[in-house]
Symmetry: C2
Subunit: 399 residues, 2 copies
């Protein structure tokens, strides 16, 4: 067909639309870029037989359009879990199921921010959330952290700076457990200090607790949500890490007035009922046993990564040994440009994301997040060694 | 807790947010309001065993984040089906899977319209789509139809009127097969005439073919998409009607430049992989056999509704006997106010949606859509009789 015959969409697209190519993440031989969970402990047989049971009992309900907040029995299970594990006093009506926590986060971003509004985050944080914030025009400002979490004085100073600029801060987004990518868990004392400050300034805390179940050692710290009895904490969680991202099941917990606003941005109706039925039926009897089994597999991979870092990087890098989660945050000497090297490393077989991708200011080219959840432990071990060789070959390893 | 201690979200919500209460549709004793499919022919055992097979083969892929366009093998199956059934020449890369067709429709609305933009539709059309259009500020203009579809002269006149007002029309949305709620299928001649007009005016056709598989009798009419070789037709379809709404699986087919814009409004990542695996595995071997079985069940229900309308309404109403789909469009005498009576009818046990809900101009209070897909045939029969009794009791039945 001649080009002239082709229909032109010029002038038809909305101002708000951008160009996003569909597709899947690249998967190099050693994939440390994406925080996938362990595929071997995925309870496929358990999910399949649970689904069968749930369909025998409730399958005909699939012919209805699902409740827009999601399957009530799964929301109840989420509320009970959060009561037991996160000391939260919530019921099924406080919970909305979403397509991964990503949908919940997107709905809340849209409910709480207009383009140009300021939100605060940890100085490095999950790039998917940062992309969503920017997609909706948010002005993202990072707050300095140490290994105990957000530094209260820095939070206070940032809030005052924004007030001085005449800017209203809409919320503080935090990943307090196994912070992604930093790996630490915010201490109880810090949580209390942060909450005292945000409440005094009239801004809500947006707590993203996606990784909390993946604890290998050490003590849990209670949720921000449990420390607040005023309704100022909005909470999101996910089954992507304790089951699988492909199950696309996350949730938000928020006061009714926030849920009602967020629902105006829910797309595609209530969450997938077929998956929700399988998850509820499986987890109601097997949740903690499965989490334990998964963590037993993950800790071996973490140890393999830490061992290989020690053997292959020596003093050329430093890292925090995380007590859980799916990644190690590696710091190379100031001036090491991992940002420029990232694409080549993917091509040479080792995938990672450099620090600038997690920083609102684009800082951190000498930092990298290495995810250990998906490959077998031996592959994790080999891959880190291979990464050291590639870095060395390219003059980036200085011991 | 004292009210004064409660955190206030005042001033924190975005301008764009509205208040939407989560929940499920009301279900009166006789529910003719919502277009649910038949629950009895839902292939629950087939889906469960297909899922088992698919998980045995590909289950570990659930540990990855799904391709944002959806499971490639299911996109391939959709492309092949559309080739066979709708004469469309498309491949898997032209298909994006979505959470029901509702998500696809929402993405396309956002990609193609800014607030205040005009779109054209049939004079009565699916209220869920109208709500989504209005949610994003679209100015929806209905075009007059007869039993053959959109009237070409009316379309031409409407386009000229809008041009006279200095308005750019962004697209024509149509449900050409078993039009929801009108029930007719647009003739081939009309499709050709409509397409000639839209192409001449440089506007795309947005073809919603959700009901096409539910044909009980008569001949299929080929898709708008197959009549166009310029890329001016955007197509959406769904598995909600041939499987179940709870499976939340729909799709869009569009030129690459449209898909890339629409993807910027995809929320929650790629579509649920767990459900996609089950659907692909089940439908690849059982699609047509299942559709036939479902249609055998549905036609009995349609006949029960038509029989009961004849026996209980006589000359007090008129209706088109649809050759497929899930609803009958009933017209009562001019002046009958079914809009005012709808809520009371729900309360008295018979749910229906009146015409004003499907009309951009809010016309059609004397019209009603009655859906027959979900209840057993006897219940459909009884429910229509009960509706006649309720109408009569309320002075609304004039034979």
């Amino acid at each position: 067909m001649a080009d002239s015959e082709r229909f032109s969409y010029e002038g038809l697209f909305s101002k708000n639309s951008t160009v996003v190519a569909p597709g899947a993440a690249l998967r190099p031989k050693y994939d440390f870029a994406v925080a996938y969970p362990d595929p071997e402990t995925l309870p496929l047989d358990g999910l399949a037989s649970s689904l069968k049971n749930a369909l025998d009992r409730d399958g005909k309900d699939l012919a209805y359009y699902p409740n827009s907040a999601g399957l009530p029995s799964l929301r109840r299970l989420v509320a009970e879990k959060l009561g037991r594990d996160r000391n939260m006093t919530v019921g099924e009506d406080d919970v909305v199921l979403t397509s991964g926590s990503g949908e919940a986060i997107g709905m809340l971003i849209q409910a709480l921010t207009d383009p140009g509004d300021v939100v605060l985050t940890e100085e490095f944080f999950y790039l998917g959330t940062m992309r969503q914030m920017r997609r909706f025009g948010t002005d993202v400002v990072g707050v300095k952290c140490d290994y105990e979490g957000i530094i209260p004085q820095e939070l206070e100073a940032t809030l005052e700076r924004q007030a001085g600029l005449g800017k209203k801060v809409k919320y503080l987004y935090t990943i307090p457990c196994f912070q992604n990518p930093l790996g630490w868990t915010m201490t109880l004392e810090r949580r209390k200090q942060v909450l005292e400050i945000t409440r005094r300034h009239g801004i809500p805390v947006f707590e993203d607790d996606c990784y909390v179940d993946l604890r290998f050692e050490g003590e849990d710290v209670t949720s921000f949500h449990s420390l607040d009895d005023t309704g100022s904490v909005i909470y999101v969680g996910s089954f992507s890490k304790i089951l699988a991202p492909g199950m696309r099941m996350g949730y938000m917990v928020a006061p009714p007035e926030v849920i009602q606003r967020a629902m105006s941005f829910k797309a595609g109706g209530g969450v997938n009922q077929f998956a929700a039925l399988a998850i509820e039926e499986y987890l109601k009897d097997n949740m903690y046993q499965h989490i334990e089994e998964e963590n037993r597999a993950l800790v071996v991979k973490r140890d393999a990564m830490i061992a290989s870092l020690g053997e292959n990087f020596g003093s050329a890098a430093t890292w925090l040994v995380p007590q859980g989660g799916l990644y190690v945050w590696v710091e190379m000497p100031e001036g090491t440009d991992l940002a420029a090297f990232q694409e080549q490393s993917f091509r040479e077989g080792v995938g990672f994301y450099n620090g600038t991708m997690f920083s609102p200011e684009g800082r951190g080219a000498n930092l990298a997040r290495l995810c250990f959840g998906h490959p077998p432990a031996e592959t994790v071990y080999e891959g880190v060694a291979e990464w050291a060789r590639i870095l060395d070959r390219n003059g980036l390893l200085r011991g």
